[in-house]
Structures are given as structure tokens and as C-alpha cells.
């Protein structure tokens, strides 16, 4: 079988399994998996910038938040219905990621990480500041009546699962398609050796900006969908820990692999879920995993799989 065949079979197979799982999973895990798929989409977006382009952002919660608040505020204050609200979230994501990209990409390396962190922190504080609009730390609930998209009630668990699966499929396919396109290959080449790519006549800044916008927009749409599916918009989704999460998922799952973000999200989600029975300090697990992955498995789970067994994995 050709590599392309194997790739299509594997990723298509995963989506089919996810589709089938909803009929057999108990309600608790059914709900978890819907949440995981939305968070995994966020991580897929993050991976395009971090894994494939080699730019480590510490501020992706700003993009997630832009989508979430773009959607939520337009429902809450402008009376939008879900479809245009999602579009508003997407547009907010494109706008914010373009501006942040233009500014932050003037820096490199460590400065890029700090700048993205600072912009995201400013975004979080802005949400807290405009408390009349955003309800600050407390956030606001999106009522069930406001969550009906084309006659489908998104608060219903099974509809919610479908919507999450749809979002995840789209993100996964965009990611898969991108890395097989010349644009994606150029991003990988930039990660490997930026100067060399420049001297082949490529506009590095334009490519990086493209990566920031695609990555930020996927994160924003994930944020918008998250708010809509789970009916809540809150400031914690724009805070620093929420920027660290996709980094954690991607590092654990495998940077620069298409499946890594999903695998990392599943592992991390259930690690934290299982540990919550033992301790309330659930971020301890996140810290231990971050250090352990950095020390012992810099390639992540899927990365190790690729290195040892399946070299054809994208």
C-alpha cells in the first residue's frame, strides 16, 4: 500500500471510530469525548504554528478567547443567532491573529514567546476590565434557547457530539491537507532552516504570517464552538494556563504530527480527570508531564511512534 493510502486509511479510520464511539460510550465519557474533540481542534491549530512552523506561542488563549468572545458577545449583546455568531468568532480570530502576527513576527526566538504571552495577558486583563460587557471572571451563560443552530439544539448531548466531531474532522483535514501542500512543506522547511528557505526566494515573513493566521483562526473557531456547545463564556479561557494547554497537548502527543494533538489531548484530559479523584491540584499533573516530556520524550507519543515504527506518518 502506498504511503498516501495508509495515511488516508489511518485518519479516515480514526474519524469513523470517533463516529461509532458515540453509540457505545456511557454518557460521562460521551460528554468528555465531545469536549476533547473541541480542545483537540484547538491543539491542531496550535500545532500548525508550533509543530510545523517551529514558532512557540505562549499566547494562543488570546485567539481561542477572540473566537469565544466574538461569538458570545454578539449573541449576548447584539442578539445574533448561532450561525452569524460563529462567523463573528471566526472574523475576530482572523483579525486578532493578523494583528498579533504582524507585531510578534518582528521578534524571534525567546522574544516571540514573551511577546505572545504579554499580548495574551493584555487580552485577558481586557476581558476583566470591561466587566459590564463580559461579566469579568464570572463569565456568562449562553441559554439553551440561544444555542439552536438551523433547528438543531446544540445543548443536546448527541447533537453536541456531532458538532464537535464535525469541527475536529474539519481541523484534522485542513491540517492534513496543509502539510501535503507546497505551503505546508515550505513551513516545515522554514522550521528546519529559515535562512536556506529565504535564499530560495521565499518570503519568510509572509509564510509565517500565514501560519499564525491559519493557526489562530482554527483556535478561534474552536473557542467559538466550545462556547456554543457548552453554553459558557468565561475569562479563564483567555488566561495563561489556557495558552499552556495546547502546548502541553501537542508536546505530549508529538510536535509536527497530524495526529499528535488529538492523542495528547486524550491522554492529558484523562490524566487530569483520573487524578481529580486523588487531589484538587490537577495542574500538578500538567507540570509533571511538561517536565517529563521535555526530559524524556521530546518527540511526543506519536513522534516516537513515527521514529520507531511508521516513518510515513505525516
Amino acid at each position: 500500500m502506498t504511503a498516501t493510502g495508509k495515511i488516508l486509511l489511518l485518519h479516515g479510520g480514526l474519524l469513523c471510530v470517533l463516529f461509532a464511539l458515540q453509540f457505545v460510550l456511557p454518557a460521562y465519557h460521551h460528554g468528555n469525548l465531545a469536549r476533547i474533540m473541541v480542545l483537540a481542534s484547538y491543539a491542531v491549530g496550535y500545532n500548525i504554528l508550533f509543530g510545523y512552523t517551529g514558532l512557540l506561542s505562549l499566547g494562543h488563549a488570546l485567539f481561542f478567547g477572540a473566537g469565544m468572545y466574538g461569538m458570545g458577545l454578539s449573541i449576548q449583546h447584539l442578539g445574533f443567532s448561532p450561525a452569524p455568531a460563529l462567523l463573528a468568532g471566526l472574523i475576530a480570530g482572523v483579525a486578532v491573529s493578523t494583528i498579533i502576527g504582524l507585531l510578534a513576527l518582528r521578534t524571534v526566538g525567546v522574544a516571540f514567546m514573551i511577546v505572545t504571552l504579554m499580548f495574551a495577558q493584555a487580552g485577558y486583563l481586557t476581558v476583566l476590565y470591561f466587566v459590564d460587557w463580559t461579566r469579568g471572571d464570572e463569565g456568562f451563560v449562553i441559554q439553551q434557547a440561544q444555542r439552536i443552530l438551523w433547528g438543531i439544539d446544540l445543548s443536546d448531548p448527541s447533537n453536541r457530539y456531532f458538532a464537535a466531531l464535525l469541527l475536529f474532522s474539519i481541523s484534522l483535514l485542513i491540517s492534513l491537507w496543509l502539510v501535503r501542500r507546497p505551503f505546508g512543506k515550505t513551513l516545515v522547511a522554514i522550521r528546519e532552516n529559515e535562512e536556506r528557505v529565504r535564499m530560495l526566494g521565499y518570503d519568510i515573513q509572509a509564510h509565517k504570517l500565514g501560519a499564525v493566521v491559519i493557526s489562530g483562526t482554527i483556535a478561534a473557531v474552536s473557542g467559538a464552538v466550545y462556547g456554543l456547545l457548552f453554553g459558557y463564556v468565561g475569562a479563564s479561557f483567555t488566561a495563561v494556563p489556557h495558552s499552556i494547554l495546547p502546548l502541553l497537548y501537542v508536546l505530549l502527543g508529538g510536535t509536527g504530527t497530524v495526529l499528535g494533538p488529538f492523542v495528547g489531548t486524550v491522554f492529558m484530559f484523562y490524566l487530569i480527570d483520573l487524578s481529580s479523584g486523588i487531589t484538587t491540584a490537577h495542574m500538578l499533573i500538567a507540570g509533571v508531564v511538561l517536565v517529563a516530556v521535555t526530559l524524556f520524550a521530546p518527540q511526543g507519543l506519536v513522534g516516537e511512534l513515527r521514529r520507531r515504527l511508521w516513518r510515513w506518518l505525516p
Binding site: 512543506k185 522547511a189 535562512e195 536556506r196 530560495l200 526566494g201 519568510i204
Partner: protein, 235 residues
Amino acid sequence: MTLLSTRGLSKSFAGLQAVSGVDLDLRQGEVRALIGPNGAGKTTLVGMICGRITPTSGQVMFDGREITRLPAHKRMLMGMAYTFQITSVFTGLSVAENVTLAARRRVPHSGLSDAVTTALRRVGLSEHVEQEAGDLSYGHQRLLEIAMGLVQGPRLLILDEPTQGLTEAEVDRFKALIRELAGETTILLIEHNMSVVMETADRVTVLNFGEVLAEGTPDEVRANAEVQAAYLGGD
């Protein structure tokens, strides 16, 4: 016709004069070698020509257009190609993908695979098309680097010490390749291997302490007493 010229091109790093007042004129189709002892400013000069380094003063003209402030990638799109001194092929990509990446900005989509095949055949890597570049021998990686330059169909091909680390047979093959390209494309060659310079270059420019010490045909340069003192005799 002059393809590339520089006027008074200078660069200083923190007060240290790396290149000063270099005037260079390359005719279309000529093979020009740039030689000089280590630290003579060859790589800095070439860096300013292809846009990796911003000059302190002076001008670069390419194809009748002043390009002193033009970003590197735009110069490449005008028809320059640069191969690196340290091999910097993309080790994770296959040989063909490396060359495709190099070709994509300059070759129309329909002709892409033909161009890649031709470039790889010319450097003699046809048998390694699907191999991962990181698995190639050092000499083959250098040849791949040259193929990545060739495939762009450049009007000016800048080769920075292309024969460094090649075996004798590979050097011979490289000389033949340059002779084949002569007339077809303009080549600026930074080279330490004197036999390559003498056998392939139309003209030779000698750089010493950042200045042009001499310029002429290989025989003239070889006969030049100053050059012998500074460089050839120094070995």
C-alpha cells in the same frame, strides 16, 4: 552585457572593515572565481550581493536595476541563486522534495517534475531521487545543494566553496558541470581549490583584507607578484 556590478561596496562590523570599496563587474555568461585568503571578506561580499548582509555603503546593480536595499528573497526571484558554504539541505525531506522546494518559486507548475529530474541528472544524483537527504553522503549532499541552485534556472549562480570536502572524482565531475554551464548562465564561484579555479574560471578576482587585490584571467592572476605574495605563495 553586464549582469551584475557593485560600486564602492563596503561593510564594517563594529568598526572592523570586512569589505571596503569593492567594484565588481560580471559579464553575462561569464564564470568568475572569487579567491583570497581566509578572512579576506569573500563571504561578506557575496552576502551583500545576494542580500543576506546589508552594506554599510556602496551599491549593487543587477540586470540594470539597483538592488542594494532589496530583500534577499526578491533578489532570488529576479534570477539569483545561492548555494551555501555549509551544506544546508533539508535532511528530513527526500532528494526530489529538496529540489522541488528550490524550484517552486521559479519554475511553472507544469514543468516542475521535468526540471527536478533534469537538475538531478546534471549533478549525477538520478539514482537517489527518493532517498531522504539526511541519508546521503557528504559529497552527495553538496551535489544536491548545487542541484537546488541549478533547478532555479538562475541567471546568476553563486556557489560558496562548492567543492569543499568532495572526493577527487567528484571534483572532476563538478569541473565538467561548470564547463557545461559556462555561457548558459553566469557563475560567481568562491573557491579554494586552485585547480578548479584555473580550469573553469574565465576571470578571477582576488580579495585581500576586504579589498580587490587583482583581477584578470587565471593566467594573469597566477603571474601577478602581489597575488603570489598575498595568497598563492603563502600556502
